[in-house]
Amino acid sequence: MLKKIQKLGQIGLDFCHRVGVSGIFLLQTIFRRPRLIRFTPLVMEQIYNVGVLSLAVIVLSGLFIGMVLGLQGFTILQKFSAESQLGQLVALSIVRELGPVITALLFAGRAGSALTAEIGLMQATEQIASMEMMAVDPLWRVIAPRFWAGMISMPVLTVIFSAVAIFGGYAVGVGWLGVDAGQFWSNLQASVDFRLDIVNGIIKSVVFGFICTWIAIYQGYHTVPTAEGIGRATTKTVVYSSLATLCLDFVLTAMMLGGW
C-alpha cells in the first residue's frame, strides 16, 4: 500500500520536474542573445522546412474541408430553406474553429514530428554534444531557429488554410449546388467580423504554434538517444501536440466568447 502511494508521489514529482525542465528550456530558447544578422538565414531555412513544405498538405486539406462543409451545410440548411446562409456557416466555422485547429493538428503531424525526429537524431548521433565541444551553442544554432520558424509559420499557414477553405465552400455551394453567389458573399461579409472572428482565429493559431513547436523541440532535445527513443519521442510529440491543441482550443474559445 505504502509503496503504491510512494509510486504515485514519484509520478507526480516526475511530472513537475518535466514541466519545469521544459519551461526552463523554453525560456533559454527564447532569450538567446539575439545576433540578428547571422540568425535570420537560419530561421529562413527552417521556415522553408516547417512552413513551405507543409503548404501542400495545408492547401489540399483546406480545400477539401471547405468543400465538405459546403456540401453538409447545404443539405442541412436546405431543410429550413436557408441556403443563402451557407456563406456565413462555412466562413464562421472555418475562421473561428476549423482553420486554427486543423492547421495545428496537421502541423503537429507534418512539421512537429519532423522537428522531433531531426533534433532527436542529432542528439542520438551526438551532433549536439560535438557542437558544444566546438563552443557552438546548440540552443542558438539548432533549437531557437526551429522554434521561431514554427511560431512564424503557424499563423501564416492558418490564414492560407482559412482562405482556401472558404473558396472550397464557395466552389461547392455556388458552383455545384446553385447557391446565389451574391447572397453567399453578402451574408458572409455581414456576419464575419474582422476583430472578433479573424483576429481571434489568428490569436488561436499563434498560441497553437507556440505550444506545438515547444512540444516538438522539447521532445526532440530531451529524447532518449536510441532508435527506439526517437520513435517514442516522435509519437509523443504528435499525441501531446494534438491533445494540447484541442484542450487549449476549448479554453481559448471560452475566453473569447466570454468577451475577454
Binding site: G51, V52, V95, V156, L157, I166, W185, D193, F194, I198
Partner: protein, 157 residues
C-alpha cells in the same frame, strides 16, 4: 543544401501568400474596410426604443446602404437612447428634416436603421441631430396590444 537565394525567394513567396490570404480574409470576407475614418460624417438620432439594434448595424435610404451605426448610449439628460450614425460622405445631400426609423430585416432578421429624406432645403452636416424618429417595433408589444383590443371587443359585445 541547395541554393540560398532560391530558398530565400521561396520563403518570401510563402510569407507573401500568407499576407495575401490575410488581405483576402480582411477585405473580401469581413466588413472592415467600409465606413471608417475621414470618408464619413456623424449624425445623431434619439430613439424611444432601439429594440435589438446593435453597433455596426446598417443605415439605409430606401434600402440602399449608406452608413452604419457607430455607437449606442443612453443619454442621461433625456433618458432616451442616443444612436450615433456614420454616413458616407457621398450622401451629404440629406435634407435637415430627414427622419429615421428602426426596421427589422425579414421576420426574424437583424435590426437596421432606415432614413427617410425630408423636403428641407438645408442639408445635414457633421454633428446634426435627427429629430423625427420612430422606435423599433417590438413583437411582444404588438401582440400585447392585439390581445387587449380583442378583449375590449369581446366585452363590448
Amino acid at each position: 543544401m541547395f541554393n540560398k537565394r532560391i530558398l530565400e525567394i521561396v520563403v518570401g513567396l510563402f510569407m507573401l501568400a500568407g499576407l495575401g490570404a490575410l488581405f483576402v480574409l480582411a477585405f473580401k470576407m469581413s466588413s472592415l474596410s467600409q465606413y471608417s475614418g475621414a470618408e464619413t460624417y456623424q449624425v445623431t438620432a434619439f430613439f424611444d426604443d432601439i429594440g435589438d439594434l446593435k453597433v455596426r448595424a446598417p443605415v439605409t435610404i430606401s434600402g440602399v446602404r449608406v452608413g452604419e451605426v457607430a455607437d449606442i448610449i443612453l443619454d442621461p439628460k433625456v433618458m432616451r437612447a442616443k444612436v450615433v450614425l456614420l454616413i458616407d460622405k457621398k450622401e451629404d445631400i440629406l435634407p435637415a428634416d430627414t427622419s429615421a426609423k428602426i426596421l427589422t430585416a425579414g421576420l426574424i432578421g437583424a435590426n437596421y436603421i432606415s432614413l427617410i429624406p425630408g423636403y428641407d432645403n438645408e442639408i445635414m452636416k457633421d454633428g446634426s441631430v435627427i429629430t423625427e424618429t420612430q422606435p423599433a417595433i417590438i413583437l411582444e408589444n404588438l401582440i400585447g396590444q392585439l390581445m387587449y383590443q380583442l378583449k375590449d371587443k369581446k366585452e363590448k359585445k
